[in-house]
Amino acid sequence: MEFSTVFLDVQEKDVRPMDEYNGYLDRLKQDIPNYYAEKGESRMTCPVCNASLSNMHPPGEEFTKNLITYVKCGSCSSVVAKEKFVLSNIQAFFTESESRKYWMTEIWSKTSEARIEKIYQPFVSWAQGRLLDYDFAEALSVAEFLPNQPGLLEGWKRVRSKDNLSAFASCVTTGTNLGESVTIHSIETNEKVDILMSVDGLNRFEDPARALSWAIEHLNPGGLFFFTTTLSTGIETLELGADSYNVLPPDRLFLPSYEGLQALAARAGFEVVEFSTPGMLDAALLRHAEKEGRKLSPTIQYFLNNRSVENDVKEFQSTLQKLRLSAFGRVLLHKKDCKKT
C-alpha cells in the first residue's frame, strides 16, 4: 500500500474563518436538538471494525458533544457516535437547517476560492495522477458523492466525460462549471460507474460499512473510489480527545482510524491502493487549542512552546504525514475484477 506526502500552503483561516465558524457552531447548537434528538438503538459493535463496543478504550471512555455521544472503539480506535439516528432527519439537517444555510452563505462564500485552490484542485490532480496506473477507456463514467447529502443514492451525480478527465476536474472543484462534453444526472439505482469521488463526505454516513458496500456495488469491476476523510488517529484527535476540533457533530458522525478504515475497506471487498494523511493543519490546530487553554500532553506542550519556528513546525507536520498521523486522510480504493467473498 502506497502513501504520499504533499505540502500545500493551507492555513486555518483558509477553511475556517474564526468569526464565521463560531457563528456556525452557535447555530449548530440550536439545530441539533431539532434534527438529532430522535435517537435509534445504541450501537453494540463498532461500525468500522465490527468489534464489540463494550470493549472501549480506555474502558468507559465516552463523551458528549452537542448532545451526540461518542465512544472510542477499543479495538480499532475509531471514534463513533454511540447511537444511531434517523436517516431522513440527517438528510433534512443537511438540506434545510439554519446552520447549513449559514455555512453555505457565510463560510463557503468566504472560503470557496481557497478551498478550491488548496483542497479540491490538489484532490483532482491526485486522482488524475493515480489514473495513469489504470487502463480506463477515454470515456470514463464518474460519480461524485455530494457532501450535503448523507449517503443516499440520489446524492450521487454522474459525469460522463468524453474528454478524458479535465471535465470532471472542473465538476468536482466547482460543482457547476462544466464543459460541453459533460452531462450530469442522478445515478440510477442499478447503475454502475468507473470512478467514485468524495471529498469529506464519508464522515457524514451513519453507517460507514453500508457506505462502502454501496460504493462497491455501484462501481464497475476494476473501478476506483477516491475519497478524503477525517481520521481519529490524527495527532490532533489523539491529543485532544473530546476537545478535538475534528470531532464535530453532526458533520462527522464517525471518525475512522487509519487501521480500522483499512479493515473496513477490505471487508467491503476493496483493495487499499493508497492511504495517505496529507493534512497541513494539525500543528496549527494544536497551537490553537493551547491558546484556548485546552489540555495537551506535556510533550506536545513542550514542542509548541520551544520548537515554534516555522521550519520546526513544517518538519513536525512533515513527520505526521510520513507516519500517517495527520487527521486528514486521502484514500484510493480499487474494486478488483471479482468481488471478494
Binding site: S4, T5, L8, D9, G129, L132
Partner: protein
C-alpha cells in the same frame, strides 16, 4: 499451460527467479543447474543438477541464465539454438561484442523469445515516472542524472564480479548499467559518451568509480556516477523536465539497504505564481511493495505463451546499454593513457 523452466545458476538472481516462479501460475520450475554443492544443498522441491547441459533437455521450454557474466553469451546462444526461449540476466556478457554475437544468434532463431533482466525499469517509482513522462504533463525530458552505488559488501573482494576475466568490467558494468538502461528508458538514444573511471580504493584493476556524461541529438543530457565506494548504499535518479522534475530515490530491494523507494514530483513555479520561488511544494509518493520481479517475469511469460514479440528489456535495449558502457570504457581508457603520458 505454464512455461517449463530451467534455471542455470542458483546465486542471488537464481534464487529470486525460482521464488517468483513458485509464486506464479505462469511458470513451472523444472530444473535448477548449479555447480556449487553448498548452493545446491539449499534447494528442494525441484530437480537439481550440477550439469549445465541438462538445460537443453526436451522437457524445458525456457532457460533463465543466471550465471556470472562470462557464461551468459555462450549459454544464451546455445539455448536459443536448442529451441529454448531465454531470459538472461544483465549484463548481457562482458563486452559490446558479446551482445552483438547474441543478437546475431537471436536473428537466426526468430521464433524464440529473448529478454534481459533489466529489472529496475519495473520498479514502482520508475513505472510511475515513466507514465508521467509519457503523459507529457510535465513536458519534455531535458536531462537525467543518476547516482547508484554501494559500499562493496560481504566478500566483495573475492566476488567473481571483481575478477576481470569473469565479469569483464567493474561497477559501471555491474550496477551502473541498470542506470544507463533507465536513461535509455526515459530519454531518446544517446550517441555521445564521455567518461572518467578510477580504481583508486579497491584496486581490482576494474573501475570502482565511473563518471559518465551522455548527449543525444535531441539535446538531452545525462550524467551518471556509479560507485563501489559510496559507503552508504544509494540510488537516486533525477529527471528534469520543461514543467517540473521527478526524482526516484531509495530502492526496494531484498536487503532494504537502499532505503524506502520514493518518487518526488515537483512542478516548476516562477515568481508570478508563488513567493516560494525555487522551492516548490512537492508530492512524495512512498512505495512499499516491489512487484518488479513479478511484472518482468509475467511479461516474459506473456511473450512465450502468447507468441508476442518481446518489447521490454529486449536485446536492442541490452545493446544500447552495452554500447554506452563500451564507449565509456574506451573514452576513459584514452584519458587514462593521456594522463599517464603527462605524468
Amino acid at each position: 499451460m505454464p512455461v517449463k523452466c530451467a534455471i542455470l545458476g542458483f546465486g542471488y538472481m537464481g534464487e529470486i527467479r525460482l521464488r517468483e516462479m513458485r509464486e506464479s501460475e505462469l511458470f513451472e520450475p523444472v530444473l535448477v543447474c548449479e555447480p556449487d554443492p553448498e548452493k545446491r544443498a539449499k534447494l528442494s522441491g525441484v530437480e537439481i543438477s550440477d550439469d549445465p547441459e541438462q538445460i537443453f533437455r526436451n522437457d524445458i521450454d525456457a532457460v533463465f541464465v543466471c550465471t556470472p557474466n562470462d557464461k551468459i553469451p555462450d549459454f544464451t546462444c546455445r539455448a536459443l539454438k536448442a529451441g529454448k526461449h531465454v531470459f538472461a540476466e544483465k549484463p548481457p556478457g562482458r563486452s559490446y561484442q558479446d551482445i552483438k554475437d547474441i543478437i546475431a544468434v537471436e536473428e537466426e532463431c526468430s521464433d524464440r523469445k529473448l529478454m534481459f533482466g533489466f529489472n529496475h525499469r519495473y520498479h514502482p517509482g520508475m513505472q510511475r515516472a515513466k507514465k508521467i513522462i509519457d503523459k507529457k504533463s510535465l513536458g519534455r525530458v531535458l536531462w537525467v542524472r543518476g547516482l547508484y552505488g554501494k559500499s562493496g559488501g560481504k566478500n566483495f573482494a573475492s566476488s567473481w564480479r571483481n575478477k576481470k576475466e569473469v565479469s569483464g568490467g567493474g561497477i559501471l558494468l555491474d550496477q551502473g548499467i541498470h542506470m544507463l538502461d533507465l536513461f535509455n528508458f526515459f530519454c531518446e538514444p544517446f550517441n555521445e559518451v564521455k567518461a572518467f573511471t578510477s580504481d583508486a580504493y579497491w584496486q581490482f584493476e576494474l573501475e570502482d568509480n565511473a563518471f559518465v556524461i551522455l548527449k543525444n541529438p535531441e539535446g538531452q543530457n545525462a550524467m551518471l556516477h556509479s560507485s563501489a565506494t559510496f559507503w552508504k548504499h544509494r540510488f537516486q535518479i533525477d529527471i528534469g523536465l520543461e514543467e517540473g522534475y521527478l526524482t526516484v530515490q531509495g530502492f526496494l530491494s531484498k536487503s532494504g539497504s537502499y532505503g524506502r523507494e520514493t518518487l518526488i514530483i515537483g512542478r516548476k513555479q516562477f515568481e508570478d505564481e508563488t513567493d516560494a520561488i525555487g522551492n516548490p511544494s512537492e508530492e512524495i509518493i512512498y512505495f512499499d511493495k516491489d512487484l518488479s520481479w513479478q511484472i518482468e517475469m509475467e511479461k516474459f511469460a506473456d511473450c512465450v505463451l502468447n507468441d508476442r514479440p518481446v518489447t521490454d528489456s529486449t536485446s536492442a535495449h541490452a545493446l544500447a546499454a552495452m554500447e554506452i558502457v563500451h564507449k565509456a570504457y574506451v573514452d576513459s581508457s584514452t584519458k587514462n593513457i593521456d594522463s599517464a603520458r603527462q605524468n
